[in-house]
């Protein structure tokens, strides 16, 4: 085993996202960004594999329409050896197929690898399609919903968390694995690691560097609107002198709503 490629998305930190209450539009311009949580789990797992079997190079690949270097420094501090940032303003409106295409072309240009690790889904768009699409484009075996992996010779044993069962599968490398958040707790890099990472390389490629075909970046999906959900709740505060009084008022309200009774 020589090389693991980890796909990282620079995602909007949804916990800090603000909404304009008058228009219900999300304020995405200038929103805080970070490595998508699930992708961080994928990177952590790659580092753990490296710690176990040694002599493995970990490369990260990120598709971005704007600079992601700050976020990638964190990946390098955690333990990635080199980061690739595929950046082009034309990537702004790509959808999951376009993103997978860019990743696939970048990975082909990087060259040989044993394993591609991805997060199961992304923190912001939460589509969960890119890793499957990437596997299809690269013609790789894909194991999804993985909560545990171990490398055994030229194969990977992976535990998949399905709705009603745990499925253990064996797959020969090269393969693509997408992981869930239960797989590990990503490390927080120490100051030492952060300093060391500043010497590591971030390679920047553009659409032209990868000779991408423009029509393959066209979105297949039309986004009609993205709005904060309407909250049509009554927002009635129930107050009273004692807990008993409050409870009785609440029960009365629930009876009127018709939601009590069997």
């Amino acid at each position: 085993m020589n090389r693991i490629i980890v796909c990282l998305k620079q995602a909007i930190d949804v916990s800090q996202l603000k909404v304009d209450p008058s228009t219900r539009q999300l304020i995405t311009a200038g929103a805080a960004k970070k490595i998508s949580d699930f992708d961080k789990n994928a990177l952590e797992e790659a580092i753990r594999i490296k710690e176990k079997i040694g002599n493995v190079e970990i490369l990260t690949v990120t598709v971005a329409s704007e600079d992601a270097k700050t976020v990638l420094r964190e990946a390098l501090a955690m333990g990635a050896d080199k980061a690739y940032m595929i950046m082009d303003p034309s990537f702004k409106d790509v959808d999951t197929l376009g993103t997978a295409y860019i990743l696939a072309e970048a990975i082909k240009k990087i060259g040989a690898f044993d394993l591609v690790l991805c997060g199961e889904t992304s923190l912001d768009s939460f589509s969960g399609l890119v890793s499957s699409r990437l596997a299809e484009l690269l013609g790789l075996a894909h194991v999804s919903s993985v909560r545990k992996v171990s490398v055994e010779g030229d194969a990977v044993i992976a535990e998949r968390a399905l709705e009603d069962s745990i499925e253990t599968v064996k797959v020969k490398m090269p393969a693509l694995i997408s992981v869930t958040r239960e797989i590990n707790q990503p490390r927080i890099p120490s100051l030492m690691m952060i300093m060391k990472a500043s010497k590591k390389e971030i390679v920047t490629w553009t659409a032209a560097d990868l000779k991408l075909q423009k029509e393959k970046l066209d979105a297949k999906i039309e986004v009609m609107e993205v709005l904060a959900p309407k909250t049509e709740r009554k927002r009635v505060k129930i107050t009273g002198e004692t807990a008993q009084e409050i409870a009785e008022k609440l029960v009365k309200a629930l009876v009127e709503e018709g939601v009590l009774g069997r």
């Binding site: 909007i12 949804v14 916990s15 909404v19 999300l26 999951t96 197929l97 923190l123 912001d124 768009s125 939460f126 589509s127 969960g128 399609l129 499957s132 299809e136 894909h142 194991v143 999804s144 919903s145 044993i157 399905l162 709705e163 009603d164 069962s165 745990i166 499925e167 253990t168 599968v169 797959v171 958040r181 979105a219 297949k220 999906i221 039309e222 986004v223 009609m224 993205v226 709005l227 904060a228 959900p229 909250t231 709740r233 927002r235 009635v236 505060k237 129930i238 004692t242 807990a243 008993q244 409050i246 409870a247 609440l250 029960v251 629930l254 709503e257 939601v259 009590l260 009774g261 069997r262």
Partner: protein, 319 residues
């Protein structure tokens, strides 16, 4: 050839649910509704699919298809789609179904909209899909630019139809089946609770305001009186390890008649999982907790005082 909506899930029950919605859309667009049935010795399920709304059932029955594996199933659906050219393909959004839909859409170089919780047809006869995005901060409305259009539907999103005696066609389909690239070594069934929280009419749910795991007894008592179930938020599962599952965007999305949130702050990811509840009650010590913004009835108070009082008041009311 008449245009077609094709429905598939490896979970039979989910196929029936999607057929329910598929029937409505097919009638609106005057298209055929077809279901795909893949497996080994599964013929007897074909009629049930017809009774639940399918005009046609494509049956692929083969010993090699006894267990779901992505490559063989993918190759069958791919040849069905290239043969019969459905405009719309609806696939069950499960841990196996979603990768299947994504790879199918990639093989066909087309779009895929995952985890749709609403489907409709607009005035231009376009299929409009709604899904929750940005961690519950927004609902996205999307449509397709390419055909076939593939959407995935989570379990318990739509209602299956009441079964009816109706006529339909069962077509045995013979496809070249791709070899699986992975080998299943073991399948361990999970202890799935017999009652699903998605089916509960009443959910009494706790968050970080609950001090000890044993205190869930307070909620259990209440749930019992209300004939409901107990739920919890993600921190109680992931951080405190008290539970293995949770209600929320990344866990179970529920739609009870009554949701009682006890000691739950109301982060957006949790709220996204309860937005379809009919009535939401929030009990929280912190009067500024965001949960009050999305609740119908709010009680600012200590759950350890309110819940016992509520129990007594409910007993009085219901007995």
């Amino acid at each position: 050839m008449k245009s077609m909506i094709m429905v598939y899930s490896e979970k039979h029950e989910l196929t029936l649910e999607i057929l329910g919605k598929g029937r409505e859309i097919a009638d609106k667009l005057r298209t055929e509704l077809a279901a795909v049935l893949i497996g080994y010795n599964v013929q007897e399920k074909a009629n049930e699919l017809i009774k639940h709304g399918a005009d046609k059932v494509f049956l692929v029955d083969n010993q090699a298809l006894m267990h779901f594996q992505i490559e063989p199933y993918l190759s069958i659906l791919h040849s069905l789609i290239t043969n019969y050219k459905p405009e719309t393909v609806l696939i069950g959004s499960t841990r196996n179904g979603k990768p299947l839909a994504a790879r199918l859409a990639t093989r066909l170089q087309t779009g895929c909209i995952p985890d749709c919780n609403r489907l409709s047809v607009d005035e231009r006869n376009r299929l409009v899909c709604e899904r929750i995005t940005y961690g519950g901060n927004a609902v996205a409305k999307m449509t397709f630019k390419t055909k076939p259009q593939i959407a995935t539907i989570p379990p318990r999103t739509f209602e299956k139809l009441h079964p009816q005696e109706r006529s339909g066609q069962i077509i045995k389909f013979d496809a070249k089946i791709e070899e699986p690239k992975t080998e299943i070594i073991e399948t361990k069934p999970l202890q799935v609770s017999a009652v699903r929280i998605e089916d509960a009419d009443v959910i009494v749910s706790c968050g970080r305001g609950l001090e000890k795991k044993e205190d869930t007894a307070l909620l259990e008592e209440l749930a019992q009186i209300l004939n409901g179930q107990v739920g919890n938020t993600r921190p109680l599962a992931e951080d405190r390890k008290w539970f293995t599952e949770w209600v929320g965007l990344s866990g179970h999305k529920v739609k009870p008649k009554l949701y009682i949130a006890c000691g739950i702050s109301g982060v957006i990811q949790h709220v996204a999982g309860i937005r379809d509840a009919k009535v939401i009650v929030a009990i929280n010590k912190d009067e500024n907790a965001p949960i009050f913004e999305v609740a119908d009835y709010g009680v600012v108070g200590d759950l350890y005082q309110i819940l016992p009082a509520l129990k007594e008041a409910l007993k009085k009311q219901l007995h």
